[in-house]
Amino acid sequence: MIRAVLVDVLGFLSVAILVYYLLVNGIYLLVYSSSLLELRTSLREDRWEPAYSRFSSPFLPEVAIVVPAYNEAPIIADSVQALLDLNYSAKEIIVVNDGSTDDTLDVLTATFDLEKTAAPVPIDTNSERVRAVYRAPRIEELTVIDKVNGGKGDALNAGVWLSDAPLVCALDADSLIDREGLLKAVKPFLRDPTRMVATGGTVRVANGCEIDDSQVTAVTTADSFLPGVQEMEYLRAFYAGRLGYSRLEGLILISGAFGLFRTDLVREIGGYNPGSVTEDFELVVRLHRHLTERNIPYSVDFVPEPVVWTQAPGTWGALARQRRRWFRGLIDTLVRERDMIGNPRYGRPGLFAMPAYVLTEVLGPLIEGFGYVLIPLAIALGALDAGFFLLFLAVTMGFGVLLSWFGVLVEVWGFRRYTEPTDVLVLLAHGVFENMGFRQWKAFVAWHGLLEYVRGDSEWGEMTRQRFTASEDAATRTDEAD
């Protein structure tokens, strides 16, 4: 009797999972074909260069680059120098020392001859207390804010509130930004100055690259497996994911590693939420909410050119920690903004992008993990045919590989930063491993993240004061695989 019920339940669940897979893969197909269209448009648009010098125009918007720094002493001087070197004539660099316990501030002071402004900041910075503001007399573009620790979102807020620039760029201290990257990310704002509210750049993995003066000078694949497979993962997430969401006017995630926003709007919605562990995702979702609720026409664009390079975690432990945090943050934001999900009032983000995220990013890895436990059980109990399951597994993995390889194709077709064909072969191989092994591991990590989220609900106090550490934030968010 019990066995019969169990068989029925398992049989039903198997069908449910099958239906779910069809739905999710339908979404992927839609997003990926949109990516292709978007890439084609973007590459065509790039063939044309206006006959004027942007840098000598009085209309070039000033950009404040805000770099939160918590215990970044070893890298901070090089990072700041790389930002000063950016090819963009109207920029301001605001480093926010978020109560570091190492000598981040001393390193900055010594390297750039900083001088303390001898008065308390007279404006409300919407953050923990600002201890002092430092300026570099010989480098007008540079400002350093020294404040009490409040987490990454809080540090970003201090910079956003102190700046007078119309655009603000949030950047991780250890991201390597392409010298032309800022201009590329600003271009959508130049094309459509009144409607554009945010742009996000493509983030790539720097682990295998040659780096000189904080600039990526030669792009090759990483030597070891874990960064290598993440390299592949980022290509897929950005080129087969966000590029398509952007085409569908539903881009709801801009990486914390590099995002450009209209300053007044970020202030209007209260800035970053210091209590969120994925403040980047949270901010963009709230931006969509704010603008759609007020019926303000707007645009959020994705910049397909590689703009920023990040160091991917090199150990399974660090990577698992990072991904659990992303997963927690994802659920947290979606739960908080749940009334937007599926709600036509919130336009494409509400009607399409957020439900798609719930299905693919949240439920995807959870259901997959569930399936890996459930299906062998079903086979053992005779509720499911083993041959059928293997075939089904082959199809899902085949589809996964197709999507991964598609990311590689976009890179080669559009950008060809990996100049050697052998590197392309390595990427393709990683595309196979990503779907056989890595993805299954991520399903397990997602369940662990869910567990943490549920536990964290009762320990909210700890969550609100989440510090960000160099190792965990070394990489940016990518969309989770399936």
């Binding site: 206006p50 404006i123 390889w405 060809r416």
Partner: protein, 361 residues
């Protein structure tokens, strides 16, 4: 008990899906690797000729008689493409006699012919590319034809405006035609458009002032704000250009327009009809902080009477950014006038002075 075998059709279907997927995967992989190999080969071929082409180009550029024709006849397709790219780069970098010689070269290259063809075709990107070349070259310009074929889209209007600007010496009324064209749709301009509008009006904004005076009713507030901002960057126009209309903009519903209009009031403060028509009190009491900030910025350079109004406003200002701006603009005068400053403004003044002191060191 045998497991409930899914019907054969489902099985078969999955099998076919798998086959289809494998074909697609192989195809994607093949194309990716193929493109990579082909791209690398092409890179190498271009690299091989780049240096020699550049050396030859620079050498001939230095001669009085570059004899482009004889050189071009001996070049391969790829070499001509490389040369075209380099010519485009140098055209954007150079002025003077070198640029004149480059004009001659560009006209002989395919670029010269490409300018002609695409204007009539339906492809927007080709037209934009042609217009960029046209702006860089001293080709003869048929204004009516340009306006007829290339005024559907904001980028194209900007590009035509740029051609007019670059050829302004040869075209009668280039600034007026360009200004009217750029604002004809009445909607927001891209930066290429605002910058072109600025260049056309930079030394004499009479065309822009005239167009604003008569046409602004048909524009979106965003375009009006852009036009006003443009005026603040241009040199001031002579005494007979229409300016009173700016006063109407100070009453506009859009804060962006009010803010930009205050900028123009600042630029044209020397015109009595504007100076006397401005309601300073009202501007410094605007409900929107960014408009008040613009008012403080512009009026702080005016006479003592206006400054008194600003000092009064400082006492009641609630926006901390606006207070800071007032403190920076008025600095010492604030201390002179009032003995007891409200704490908010006093803190701003301390800050502004500390900044000044740091700068002076």
């Amino acid at each position: 008990m045998t497991p409930p075998l899914p019907s054969l059709t489902t099985f078969e279907l999955l099998g076919w899906v798998l086959v289809g997927l494998l074909v697609a995967v192989v195809a994607v992989g093949y194309v990716a690797v193929g493109l990579s190999v082909r791209g690398k080969r092409e890179d190498r071929r271009i690299e091989a000729v780049e240096d020699s082409i550049r050396t030859e180009l620079l050498d001939r550029l230095g001669r009085d008689e570059p004899a482009w024709g004889t050189w071009l006849d001996g070049l391969s397709r790829r070499e001509r493409d490389v040369l075209e790219t380099q010519t485009d780069q140098y055209l954007r970098l150079l002025t003077g006699s070198d640029r004149d010689r480059l004009h001659d070269l560009a006209t002989r290259l395919d670029a010269g012919q490409r300018i002609e063809q695409p204007l009539a075709t339906g492809d927007r990107i080709d037209r934009l590319g042609a217009l960029s070349w046209l702006a860089l070259l001293d080709h003869e310009v048929d204004v009516d034809r340009l306006v007829e074929h290339c005024s559907d889209d904001p980028a194209e209007r900007a590009a035509v405006g740029r051609v007019l600007y670059e050829h302004r010496e040869a075209i009668d009324g280039a600034a007026s035609i360009g200004t009217r064209l750029l604002t004809s749709a009445g909607t927001t301009l891209p930066m290429y458009g605002t910058d072109t509008l600025f260049r056309l009006n930079q030394t004499d904004p009479t065309p822009l002032l005239t167009t604003c005076a008569s046409q602004r009713g048909d524009w979106t507030v965003d375009l009006l704000a852009q036009a006003l901002e443009t005026l603040t960057y241009c040199d001031p126009a002579g005494g007979d250009a229409p300016i009173e209309w700016v006063l109407d903009c100070l009453d506009c519903e859009s804060p962006a327009v009010r803010e930009a209009a205050l900028g123009v009031v600042g630029t044209y403060g020397w015109r009595a009809e504007l100076r006397e028509g401005v309601d300073v009190e009202r501007a410094v009491n605007d409900p929107v902080p960014s408009v008040r900030r613009a008012a403080y910025r512009e009026f702080s350079a005016w006479n003592d009477e206006t400054v008194q109004v600003l000092v009064g406003a400082a006492a009641t200002e609630t926006d901390d950014r606006a207070r800071l701006l007032l403190a920076r603009e008025l600095s010492g005068r604030l201390r002179e006038v009032t003995e007891r400053l409200p704490p908010g403004i006093a803190a701003c003044l301390d800050w502004a002075e500390a900044e000044e002191a740091a700068k002076a060191r």
